[in-house]
Symmetry: C2
Subunit: 253 residues, 2 copies
């Protein structure tokens, strides 16, 4: 809608791939070097872009800070977190929290028992939307037509032989998930990983987030993991309760 801003913002994903110099940026944007320079300068002033010692540009620090703050403003996450931790303590497996946004599902929190380090590494990354248990729950709650529209638009990569193969299979699965109120991913993304997930609902009953417990086959079988379902659902319900009972917002308007 705004050409200048559009161009400027296009620089960000480009730099996300790795550092680039002025010429490269200009080329990939299809603009004159001087134009690219001015855009980069503006991004730079806002700290979104950083100029390293070899003069090349890369993404800047402010970006982290922004992502940070954005994260902290997600109140579902804040409320859910202690519950996730408790669940993790009682079952020992990896616990995820995810939300849907603009055709993407992304993890916004994760508690992992075994590998305390780099646990943020997945947070913020889009989820394998066609197979992840949390994605199924989030999409299943979309209005019929939107759900269909999204399903049609998606790619259906066959991560494993049990991945969702195509839109109609996906829609059928969503229908099932919608009815039963929980979802699983049994080796659909990684051959040896299974997940059980339950929805978190707002006061109006709409699904606002989904949480899951994941564990590799070698630790517990899929059947064993399924025995955790009641616990997962109880946790999700507890979060739902707290979330919807909460006083609205403090906003000044």
């Amino acid at each position: 809608m705004s050409q200048t801003v559009d161009r400027a913002l296009s620089i960000l994903p480009l730099l996300a791939e790795g550092p680039a110099d002025l010429g490269q940026v200009a080329d990939r944007l299809g603009v004159h070097k001087s134009t690219a320079l001015r855009l980069l300068r503006t991004l730079h002033e806002h700290g979104l872009v950083y100029r390293q010692s070899d003069q090349r540009y890369r993404l800047g620090a402010r970006l982290f800070a922004l992502a940070q703050e954005a994260m902290e403003n997600l109140d579902v996450r804040e409320i859910a977190h202690p519950h996730l931790v408790r669940l993790n303590e009682s079952c020992g497996h990896t616990v995820h929290l995810a939300v849907y946004e603009e055709n993407e599902v992304l993890y916004i929190d994760k508690v992992e028992s075994r590998y305390p380090v780099r646990m943020y590494s997945r947070i913020g990354k889009p989820v394998a939307i066609t197979v992840a248990a949390v994605a199924k729950l989030l999409l299943a709650d979309l209005p019929e037509h939107e759900r269909r529209a999204v399903a049609e638009k998606l790619d259906y990569p066959m991560y494993t032989s049990r991945s969702t193969p195509h839109a109609s299979a996906f829609l059928r699965e969503l229908e099932k998930v919608r009815e039963q109120g929980w979802a699983t991913d049994l080796g659909g993304h990684e051959e040896s990983i299974n997940c059980v997930a339950a929805p978190i609902r707002g006061a109006d009953g709409r699904v606002v987030a989904a949480m899951s417990v994941s564990a590799p086959n070698v630790v517990v079988t899929a059947d064993e993991l399924l025995t955790l379902l009641p616990l997962v659902r109880r946790t999700a319900d507890a979060i739902s309760g707290e979330y919807s009972g909460r006083t609205p917002v403090k906003g000044t308007v």
Copy 2:
């Protein structure tokens, strides 16, 4: 440098404070609603801004993904990480990795022993630059005039009675740190927390990052923590070696 982009980017920190509606954004930008709308739309198309169900805008998902990727492209971090983990395993304390960028010092990695959860919560946040041990190391390595310039510009909040009180004290401290090649923060930020830090240097000898070990008084006294100094320095040197020995980059130019 580019007004339109400048305005658009100003929206981001604004939304970082919390969701806002069109009118609020327009007011705070000092532009007409329609203008704000078009800027927001552009940001939206790039996924940097998300429109929640109540029509208000907040920061979007792509931001996480970008911050993600930016993070992963920091090769110091990648190289350092296993070393940090090993250090953490051997001493049990919190280990930090930080870099300097544009008048700010920020943590880019952290390994924490006791509290496995939410460890990313600090990563990306600016460090208390006037007191943190890692900040001292990073600033101490700046060229004389730049160091002075930065020191003059800073605020010197008295977090505790042992915080660095003003620019000249800070510059003296930096000088000392510069000479001895390591730094400490003894209760300068949190009364009961001490840190020891060592620099990580690139092939040219310049400090590219700094790492530290932090522990509360109740666990080890400052003196005990100082006994870890050799280990910390050795770790930092190991990272330096690996970092500078590494093959440059794969870049296409």
